[in-house]
């Protein structure tokens, strides 16, 4: 008996079993405690409340919403809102971060300085303050009558208006799917080793898939266009309010700008680190072979820098998705805020928090899984000698 216990594998299994048992005891014990406490307060525990209608409304939704809708539908709306804000925030933060990072690694000293000031400034002010700042700014914009024209955007205290497509919702959705596929498929083609040709030789195919997908998206949009109206619907002042175009609420605008700018500062540092990690030797080799600065950047430095950045970038993305919960600070109905109101209105604290945690876990585990896949696909092969 004692001898078996000395066996390494047996030991590992026993330790694992012990660990699982402890976790189970804690979870089950906690659950029973909570149920007793709740039933003494006359709250029925369980997920039955999901079918009840909420009786309250959300201020932002991409999906149809009314106070008669059940709780589960509101949770769906919350997740979609969080994903929408999160995705746009990540895209904006990545664009800003890319520019800032490249500015910081450029040989131009003014750009370097601007990049450093940007990072030092926006990284060192708490995100919630920045959200409040942008929210105050947006809500203090002039009324629609005196709205500011900012390129194609019209800025007013009722929100930011931007030109929209006169296209039915389903067509927009289908076009978005086509466009996403046009971007995702080339990525897969670039990295998978399951096809006969090695990934490096699929350049032409990749471009064709990309162009084809984008063309398809454009065609779907054209097909879905409301007959007899112009394709693009620009915001116009009519009477006391702005008509036409797409209105982006002050809450959403403030959050998006704050997440984009704050995240951009962090991502800028990640981008800079990625480029610094590229060996000077590789750049010199490219130069000595006669590659132009652009070719050296796009073929050597960027691909190597991306490989260095991706693992840290995944962390940052997960962090930024969690930062969308600041929506509650300005009253944007993201997933977190909907859960918070649900708790307030229904008293189903544990269930709602369970759903909240499961939702964020699912979102962030998906991000981690996607990045792990990409990382594995593009990882450098063999031992790396750093020079």
């Amino acid at each position: 008996m004692i001898r078996i216990l000395r066996h390494q594998k047996v030991r590992n299994i026993l330790l694992q079993a012990l660990f699982v048992a402890v976790v189970l005891v804690v979870v089950v014990g906690g659950w029973r405690n909570a149920q007793q406490a709740l039933s003494s307060q006359n709250v029925v525990s369980g997920f039955g409340f999901l079918q009840k209608s909420t009786g309250w409304d959300v201020n932002f939704s991409l999906l149809p919403a009314s106070p008669n809708d059940p709780y589960w539908w509101f949770f769906v709306i919350g997740i979609v809102n969080t994903l929408f804000l999160g995705t746009l925030g990540l895209v904006l933060a990545t664009l800003i971060g890319g520019l800032v990072g490249i500015a910081r690694t450029s040989s131009n000293e003014l750009l370097q300085l601007l990049g450093r000031l940007y990072v030092d400034f926006f990284r060192n002010i708490p995100l919630i303050l920045q959200v409040f700042f942008w929210y105050a700014l947006v809500t203090n914009l002039p009324s629609p009558r005196n709205a500011i024209d900012f390129g194609p955007l019209v800025l007013s205290n009722r929100g930011v208006y931007m030109p929209a497509l006169n296209v039915g919702g389903w067509h927009v959705f289908a076009a978005a799917v086509a466009a996403l596929a046009a971007l995702a498929l080339p990525l897969w083609l670039r990295t998978t080793r399951r096809l006969a040709t090695p990934p490096e030789q699929r350049g032409a195919l990749v471009w064709r898939v990309l162009a084809g997908g984008l063309l398809l998206a454009a065609a779907i949009l054209l097909l879905g266009r409301t007959p007899g109206s112009p394709l693009i619907d620009a915001p116009l002042l009519q009477g006391l309010n702005l008509r036409g175009g797409l209105r982006v609420s002050p809450e959403f605008s403030a959050l998006l700008v704050a997440i984009g700018i704050y995240g951009g500062a962090y991502i800028g540092e990640i981008v800079r680190g990625g480029f610094k990690a590229v060996g000077k030797g590789q750049t010199e080799a490219a130069h000595s072979l006669g590659l132009s600065p652009w070719q050296t950047f796009s073929r050597i430095r960027l691909p190597l820098a991306l490989r260095a950045m991706l693992p840290i970038l995944a962390n940052q993305y997960i962090w930024l998705i969690k930062a969308t919960t600041l929506g509650i600070a300005v009253g944007f109905t993201d997933f977190f805020m909907i859960v918070a109101v649900t708790i307030n209105q229904s008293g189903q604290t544990l269930e709602a928090i369970g759903i909240l945690m499961a939702g964020f876990l699912a979102i962030n585990l998906s991000i981690a899984a996607i990045f792990n896949r990409i990382n594995r696909a593009i990882a450098l092969k063999g031992n790396q000698l750093r020079s």
């Binding site: 060996g279 490219a286 000595s288 072979l289 590659l291 070719q295 490989r307 450098l380 063999g382 000698l385």
Partner: protein, 252 residues
């Protein structure tokens, strides 16, 4: 590209060239002419400016005064002349500097396809020929990280050769290698030397210098101290600094 340059101009001509790093005078009044097809070995103690000098030839470093003329084209701030010269001057580095995210074959065809606009099939055929010449055609589809140091350095040589350069620069190509791999790289270099390409090699492999060099150059403290054919250089060097250096590298 032998026919694009008149054969009567020297491969490299350096006149009164100076190079500073801040206040540090790294290269002092360098004069050097390398004729076409000539094999020149550059040696000297660490920090004497050997790397800096050959890196000025393909503008990895910028010289501060004097003239460098490569195949009749003067190196100045003109980007087109720099690009033109880099196309004709290949370089092999101490740490190989292969592109780790590309296969050996991709490393070899990248520059011919991007810079010379060679079609892929043709570039790959040429790459395989050069990989055979450096005796590793079977590694073509591997990645640099999967090869030994000696194999990586031979890939780096093949990669340079794929651009069919008129001039090849070597900066201590065997210094980062284990002893048993040094000879496989030197063998390839000896073989190359028999083919008429201009070669300028920074190396401490004195055996190699004896065998292939037309001329040996000794540098110390940023100056060219001695310049002679290998026979004279090893048997009867004129400067004391050269004698001292030789006794150190040959002494044991």
């Amino acid at each position: 590209m032998a026919d694009t340059h008149p054969t009567n101009v020297p491969a490299v001509q350096i006149n009164g060239m100076n190079k500073f790093y801040g206040h540090f005078h790294a290269l002092k009044n360098i004069h050097l002419t390398v004729h076409r097809g000539e094999k020149v070995v550059v040696c000297g103690p660490s920090g004497s400016g050997k790397s800096t000098m050959i890196r000025c030839i393909n503008r990895l470093e910028e010289h501060n005064s004097g003239q460098i003329t490569v195949l009749g084209t003067e190196l100045n701030d003109d980007v087109a002349s720099i690009d033109g010269i880099r196309r004709e001057v290949g370089m092999v580095f101490q740490h190989f500097n292969l592109f780790p995210h590309m296969t050996v074959l991709e490393n070899c065809v990248l520059a011919p396809m991007l810079v010379r606009k060679t079609p892929r099939a043709q570039a790959e055929a040429a790459a395989m020929r050069y990989l055979e010449k450096v005796r590793i055609p079977e590694q073509a589809l591997k990645y640099p990280g999967q090869l030994s140091g000696g194999q990586q350095q031979r890939v780096a040589i093949a990669r340079s050769l794929c651009m069919e350069p008129e001039i090849l620069l070597f900066d201590e190509p065997t210094s980062a290698l284990d002893p048993e791999m040094i000879s496989e790289v030197l063998d390839v270099m000896v073989h190359l030397a028999s083919e008429g390409r201009t070669m300028i090699c920074v190396t401490h492999e004195m055996g190699f210098a004896r065998r292939v060099a037309d001329r040996v150059i000794f540098m110390d403290a940023g100056e060219i101290v001695e310049e002679a054919d290998p026979e004279t250089f090893f048997q009867s060097p004129s400067s004391d600094r050269t004698k001292q250096f030789l006794s150190q590298v040959l002494g044991h």
